[in-house]
Symmetry: C2
Subunit: 271 residues, 2 copies
């Protein structure tokens, strides 16, 4: 039994959907979240810059006595996971590998779709990982650059003509390809999963990146005997690198809780 | 007469609408454009970081023998204009001052609206400048965070339900306030001026930031006898700090020209 907290980081606040999944799947664990809101988005940065940022994010989180780290950021998972794992003596879970494993497991017709940001689609990371796991699976990708700003503007409800029109345009080509599994490859997309599900229909299984990381972490903690006391209720602390004023509104949106959360600011350049 | 080029910079490619205005208003001038696409958006950076970035942008542009500089970026105009003017021995024009002067001139009922990004609205720069020019003018502001991503996704046509729904929601409160002048305080907004005009109606005058900077620069060049030979056709060169591959599509969108443009990449951190 180990009640030390788990660190979670992302380029911004989208990673709070991973916090939401972790709270559902591992409710007894303490979490420390860091969102690098001053340097968001990571998607367009060079590999060297990304590794520098990711190392700073990890160093800040490790100023606490952690037992594990979840990288909620797809871009960091793609570019820097193995380096961070080699440099740190604690379990680190990314988002890409667990998500691809799940997609390969659930597809029957071996046709998997991936929707993500332009940067994630361009990285080819999901396709490479799926090819490594099962070379017979075809992956169809679609970049959905408007989903993040629309979700952050709170346009996440069924019946909203704006999100529904945009979603239909992005998803119709996926449907035509006959996929039976769709990876939601961005932290923001679980919030519009009901709308995506309506468009794709009941025969397409949705796989959310954040959720799969939480399951992977649960397995890892169990295997290494690192789980917290299951009778307790875990807590969460939140840190951001830019102004904290917007945090409450956005956090409520992503965590889907009525709770009011406060965040503290960190000067991440010092780490 | 002075045929040396004019430098123009912005945090990204939105400043190309200023290039478009400059080409219409000063067609004989040569332009050198720099878009800091690797470090966009500037809106959320600290003042120190912004000044550092702006100095690098100016240093890069001044590696050419320029006669003037236009800052197409609202955030830099707001935070760093006077410092840059003090440090450089050539005319530098921002976007905020010329735009506010124009708005104060055209309003009859002294009710002016401002639409812009969240960062520009929060800065209070337009309100402060207008109050300085005419303290009887009331300014009503509305942040429109979805306009930039929608424009960059090419959703700029009348009849598009997505842009029209979003625009109506942002602009209805402005209309209810009875403004007679609306400042388009972001480089991207001129591209949807027809849609904004439809919603606001014929009695509201639209004032575009980029266009007013071009008029201001024209006056300045004339006063200092720096204008180019009016019988020539000016040229434009384009530089960006991130990948050049997207430039062609976006440039055609912003410049509203069928011409194909190529951009070269600059390592801006070296300046």
């Amino acid at each position: 039994m180990d009640n030390r907290p788990i660190g979670v980081f992302d380029s911004g606040l989208g990673g709070l959907t991973a916090v939401r999944s972790l709270r559902q799947i591992l409710p007894e664990e303490n979490l420390i979240y860091f969102g690098d809101t001053a340097r968001v988005p990571y998607g367009s940065r060079s590999r060297e810059t990304l590794l520098k940022y990711a190392r700073q994010d990890v160093r800040f989180l490790r100023s606490y006595d952690l037992k594990a780290i979840v990288i909620a950021c797809g871009t960091v998972s793609t570019t820097s996971l193995s380096t961070l794992q080699a440099e740190n003596d604690l379990p680190i879970v990314g988002v890409v590998e667990p998500t691809c494993s799940r997609a390969v497991k659930v597809t029957n017709n071996k046709k998997v779709g991936l929707i993500a940001t332009l940067a994630s689609v361009r990285s080819g990371a999901y396709e490479a990982k799926i090819a490594e796991l099962d070379k017979d699976v075809s992956v169809f990708t679609e970049a959905c650059p408007l989903f993040v700003p629309l979700v952050e503007s709170g346009r996440i409800r069924r019946g909203d003509v704006v999100i529904e029109t945009v979603a239909r345009e992005y998803l119709e080509p996926m449907k035509e390809r006959g996929i039976d599994t769709l990876i939601l490859g961005c932290t923001h997309y679980p919030l519009i999963a009901p709308i995506i599900g309506d468009i794709m229909g009941p025969d397409v299984t949705l796989v959310s990146a954040g959720e799969e990381s939480a399951f992977e972490l649960k397995r890892m903690l169990k295997a290494q005997d690192l789980r917290a006391d299951e009778n307790r209720q875990g807590d969460a602390d939140f840190y951001v690198s830019d102004r904290v004023e917007d945090f409450e509104r956005i956090a409520s949106l992503f965590l889907q809780e009525d709770l009011r959360h406060a965040a503290r600011r960190v000067d991440i350049e010092k780490y």
